[in-house]
Symmetry: C2
Subunit: 446 residues, 2 copies
Amino acid sequence: MEKKAIVVGAGLVGSLWSIFLAQRGYKVDIYERRSDMRKEGFVGGRSINLAMSTRGWKALEKAGIAEEIKADAIAMDGRMMHAVNGETTFQPYGKEGQAIYSVSRGGLNLALINIADKHPLVNFHFDHKVSKVDKKSGSLQVTSEGITSTADASLIFGTDGAFSSVRASLQRTPRFDYQQDYLDHGYKELEIPAGPNGSFLIEKNALHIWPRGHFMLIALPNSSGSFTCTLFLPFEGPQSFEQLKTNDAIQTFFETYFADALALIPDLVKDFHENPTSTLVTIRCNPWVYKDKICLLGDSSHAIVPFYGQGMNSGFEDCTVLDEMLSEFDEDWTKTLSAFNETRIPDANAIADLALRNFIEMRDLVGDEDFLLRKKIAAWLHDKYPDRFIPLYSQVTFTHIPYSKALAEGRRQDQLFEKILAIENIHQDWKTEKVIQVFEAWEKEN
Amino acid sequence: MEKKAIVVGAGLVGSLWSIFLAQRGYKVDIYERRSDMRKEGFVGGRSINLAMSTRGWKALEKAGIAEEIKADAIAMDGRMMHAVNGETTFQPYGKEGQAIYSVSRGGLNLALINIADKHPLVNFHFDHKVSKVDKKSGSLQVTSEGITSTADASLIFGTDGAFSSVRASLQRTPRFDYQQDYLDHGYKELEIPAGPNGSFLIEKNALHIWPRGHFMLIALPNSSGSFTCTLFLPFEGPQSFEQLKTNDAIQTFFETYFADALALIPDLVKDFHENPTSTLVTIRCNPWVYKDKICLLGDSSHAIVPFYGQGMNSGFEDCTVLDEMLSEFDEDWTKTLSAFNETRIPDANAIADLALRNFIEMRDLVGDEDFLLRKKIAAWLHDKYPDRFIPLYSQVTFTHIPYSKALAEGRRQDQLFEKILAIENIHQDWKTEKVIQVFEAWEKEN
């Protein structure tokens, strides 16, 4: 049989997966609804920066572009919290030398398309909209310039994002479980421009957070010296997008809650009106595959909210996991897709849950005394027993431990810290033998 | 403004709701994808009989056809359980005189269409497929005989079932939460024909259940003397549809688990092959409404599994609740639809949960000693204190108490019976003062 595949969607995961397929000797046709971004230019204003971490880097190494991307990425060693009064506190993400990396979504996508396009087996078809997939025959309806034709392939990959038309076709078939859940919050992008000579006006190597309970502002550095800011805010309610319709209301809101940031965002009111207010959705489904023919990857099967910085990382990990399984099963697609479906869905559900949970942490808990102490004790334990205790955040961000295992372990860690934080005078003195005893007792229980 | 509405789908809920609208003076156009069942005849083989109960009757009374339907319905006073050895046990559903009624889905749909069609304000358009709804403009794309046209109305009701195209249009708009979950079980219809002269070969006034743990067979009486049987069975696994591909396998399966029923189903093997194996889905979504323009009713917004006999009843109750709210808000549709959305979604979620939970009860617990004792004690308490204690099943089936309230009360009843069943020697002697004491203490707590 000819080694041939169709990939629907030339976003981050689709472009990357095409490279993996071509490396295995598959002829790949990629259909992309949008125009070639290399001609059109990248349209900003709708996409928060990406935070690349260990799972993402692994996939890029395999694709051979990790170094190129890293050259332009900015290490974020921790969170910089901004209190209402302007005071800042820094919380490292991991151990010395561990960081997540701020990467431009557009730049990364461009690099992936370029590297895929260089491969003689990969063919891009931009401005081609896939409207329907017939799972039994394995054929697609593709429309370009008003003309609809049919494309066939024994293998079809749906990497067409949260509103995937490949998934929409599967959704109409029996026994396809599907769920889309929106947050009551939306988000809007704003910008802190670079200072003189491309300087950074706030700490460069940090992810900045202005946590305000039910809402928050964040900022990620760009290599140009600017920061991409994102405001997460409820659509309705006392503090909400609904309330911020006038210039005055916007200005007052920022003066009240984000005074230090306001001073750095010159185009606040203009950007606020011009940039869209976007939604935040979690998508889950089952199955992701159909026999040896169809497979969904990335957001098309598991879109998540951005609060753990794992959306792109988990999509990229889909590619490495699927690639490893293909080797394990000697490219028997029936066995591979079945195994992928079996193990990967629980992992995707776990990171979806973790991302929702981290929203509460970011906007609410990062200022909480107990929470901050817990973070400190966790780092201390991890430092003392690097293999015996890995904090949940580190497992997700700096290892390849399956998400579902990390989530389960995180729940056990919650129990540990409940006990530790109940120790008398723990806030006064926490580097104690008592903490070690509680830790060792907990370790034995598990 | 002209009082005008479009109803999409001429099934049970759509036909009924058209009658309600016409009674309020609205001109109604109903678009139905299928042909007129009055010409085509009703196609069986895919639909278990309906069990009409209090909520359903209320809506039919309002439509003026309760008596006509009741004349052809068969009262089922309780469950008749069939053990593997053929022994039967009867469990009344409620108090003396309380029953649920076996009704033919086709017959009921026909009666509703006829009564709606008699109304000069109602116009049926059969063989008209609605493919798209534009919520902003309030227009529909309707295709009939290959010609697609646009229909407009200030009011659109989606009563087009679990695979609703009105809902599918809403689903593609931001902030629409949606969930479809399939059971691992499917179902298949079979038939016990009438005996000589239309006689009933098993107890007429009962819903028959052959509970077998992970699967079950049920039978509901028809006025002709026959019974419509439904086999609920996993799709895959040791006892499953997947295993029942040959005549021998089917025959042996029924001999092993349903010997007494097998003797009454002459066409078992033929029907088993010819009738489809259907799926069981739960659908939830939010919102059900759009401003003052669009409203989903019945399965289109809340399809549930059939194990509480409340699918049609809850859809009919949608109509009575919405109609009552219209009176309350003087036909202000913005206020009405908003209030309907607010209160009805939690009720729909509650009956969805209850229906899933009842599957376990029906297939597994109806043979359990503790469960049977609980049912007896519940009936005794209800008899003793008719207003102070109403069993969950009776609340759902024989009252208009909102489903969400019934579910919450059911959870409290679980706590009561945990305490009662923990009383020493309760299985030997349960009509005791001790039970009353536990009940009264529980009552005070709540």
